[in-house]
Amino acid sequence: MNALIQADSLQRFYKQRTSSLNPFSGDLIPAVDAVSLTIEKAEILGLVGESGCGKTTLGKLLTRIERPTAGSVLFQGKNIERLGGRKLRKFRRHIQMIFQNPYDSLDPRYTIEATVSEPLKIHYRLTRRERRDKTCEALSMCGLDPDVLIHKYPHGLSGGERQRISIVRAIITSPEFIVADEPVSMLDVSVRATILNLLADLRDEHSISFLYITHDIATARYICDRLAIMYLGEFVELGTVEEVLTKPAHPYTKILMSAVPEPDPDFEGSSYDLREIAEEDVIPGACRFYPRCPERIEVCKELRPHLTSITPEHTVACHLRTSLRNKP
């Protein structure tokens, strides 16, 4: 059976001009470099990394906001990476996106009803009545009171409410897959659980799959089924949440985890210290993490590691793990 989403060797390069005079100069910066992943139905895959690692770009590639420079994306077995124009727009009811900023996510000139029902107007031919019914249904599904909200404007609503409405807008065409890009980062701590619990409910009760992009590994632990750790455009570790968080294999994962403070005054922080480097000097052909890795060995400078399994549910791109595994 086909996985819901299957991405193969996705690549997205950006050209960065090196000379201000020559418009044709430029280095190719790989924002996403040969990333492959699968997402099943009713699954939440967490994508964790720091800013600049390419996680947002990967989200944009899967939702086809941007086109990959190489690689393929299969949705329910069909290629979507080359869709364009009208076909792409029509396809959009299957894959949706939730964004980070709830305060900017709703057009201030429209009522909640108008905003939420816009996808219906785009994709279906329904009567006004039918649209209103579907809107109310979707609002209730996300724990909101339709009668109170449909006539309201965004400026009267809190960040948490606005984000929930963005989610309503995203699910109204019954998509199978949603990319959630840092959906709770800009919300107060006391309301984050609402959103996170809602996403989990949508997975459990409506079989919607999510790509949950975040820099906060603790929230990823809370709702994700599997976890991918991303560094400078590549996956360095991928596996179930339990596997990755209880037995982190990649040095970067270990450092990331130790940098997250626990809500406990007696929590002893990490003793890890990332090497400081003046510029992200990536040695071509070497492991991307080599310049900063505290556990690096000789081979790391010469050969780029690929994702290899250490258990069926857990892959890691690191020479240390693979060489240790191969030790007799």
């Binding site: 984050r192 659980a193 820099h215 632990r221």
Partner: protein, 329 residues
């Protein structure tokens, strides 16, 4: 050290007075750090603004006493405060401090000129001090010759920490969300640096953040702020173990953990109240699962639970963490 008593500050808005800070009282000794935790709109940044006396045009300090090393500073004339207190006895570091560096001058030039503006030192001496200071935040002294845009966010913020913690040689440092704009790994490093500097000096640090975990791991004392007032205050381990205010309990239960067994995260329903017309009685009552009629009528008293712990709640003595249940959606 710094002692604050009954600090109250309001803003005038078109619809009325925004009661941003009400009766805030705390003290921070030498070598000590206080963490002020609260969510957006709680008034934490307003406390910093009031202490530094950098109020906007429509801000008014209604009452309060602030003693820095025994000297009352709120009643000083503005010019005296500017010359002798701000950036001398009290320094600050904000979330956007790293962007406060002027892009057309080198980092070194800026640090040196700021230092010479506030202290009587020669250029050479200032340079030496600057080199020493950036060294203590683990930056190479060559950084002084760089321009701000050549440095990463974390590096810039560390430069600002070197400035406000060390170069200025203050008694008190106010840090308002100093690491919120930084990535996790960078934040971890910067916080470690801050903690190290705290330990090595006589400073009193007031650390403001919305991140409960940061405060719990960094500070000695904690104040929980809601709707313009402190609802719980005390030594950090005491507050953590015996927290008695429902808001504090809710806040702690809303934070996901990476290591503890997974539990359903809690949501505190509703939204913070309007600061122009705060509710009668307890400001948290509309959202509190334990609210009783008395909570909606009378302002809760400050109940001392221990020498180093007080709570603003009618039922402070009876509340236990396990009894407080919030919803999950």
């Amino acid at each position: 050290m710094i002692e604050v008593k009954d600090l109250t500050m309001h803003y005038k808005a078109t619809l009325g007075w925004v009661k941003a800070v009400n009766d805030v009282t705390f003290s921070v000794d030498k070598h000590e750090s206080l963490g002020i935790v609260g969510e957006s709109g709680a008034g934490k940044s307003s406390v910093a603004i009031a202490l530094l006396r950098i109020l906007p045009q429509n801000g008014v300090i209604r009452q309060g006493k602030v003693l820095v090393d025994g000297l009352e500073v709120l009643s000083l004339p503005g010019s005296t405060f500017r010359k002798e207190i701000r950036w001398k006895k009290i320094s600050m570091i904000f979330q956007a401090s790293m962007d406060a560096l002027d892009p057309v001058y080198t980092v070194g030039h800026q640090l040196i000129s700021i230092l010479r503006l506030h202290r009587n030192v020669s250029k050479k001496e200032a340079r030496k001090k600057a080199e020493a200071a950036v060294g203590r935040v683990d930056l190479r002294s060559s950084i002084l010759n760089s321009y701000p845009h050549e440095l990463s966010g974390g590096m810039k913020q560390r430069v600002m920490i070197a400035l406000s913690f060390l170069l200025i040689q203050p008694s008190v440092v106010l840090a308002d969300e100093p690491t919120s704009a930084l990535d996790v790994l960078v934040e971890d490093r910067v916080l470690k640096q801050m903690k190290k500097l705290q330990g090595e000096s006589d400073l009193s640090v007031v650390h403001i953040s919305h991140n409960v975990s940061t405060i719990l791991t960094m500070c000695d004392k904690m104040a929980v702020m809601y709707a313009g007032e402190f609802v719980e205050y005390g030594e950090i381990r005491t507050v953590f173990r015996c927290c008695a205010h429902p808001y504090t309990i809710g806040l702690l239960k809303a934070v996901p953990s990476l290591r503890a067994p997974t539990e359903m995260l809690v949501t505190i329903p509703g939204t913070p109240p309007s600061l122009i017309q705060p509710p009668v009685g307890c400001t948290f009552a509309p959202r509190c699962p334990l609210a009783a009629p008395i909570c909606r009528e009378t302002t809760p008293p400050i109940v001392k639970l221990a020498d180093d712990h007080w709570v603003r709640c009618h039922f402070a003595r009876d509340i236990r963490k396990e009894d407080v249940h919030f919803g999950t959606l």
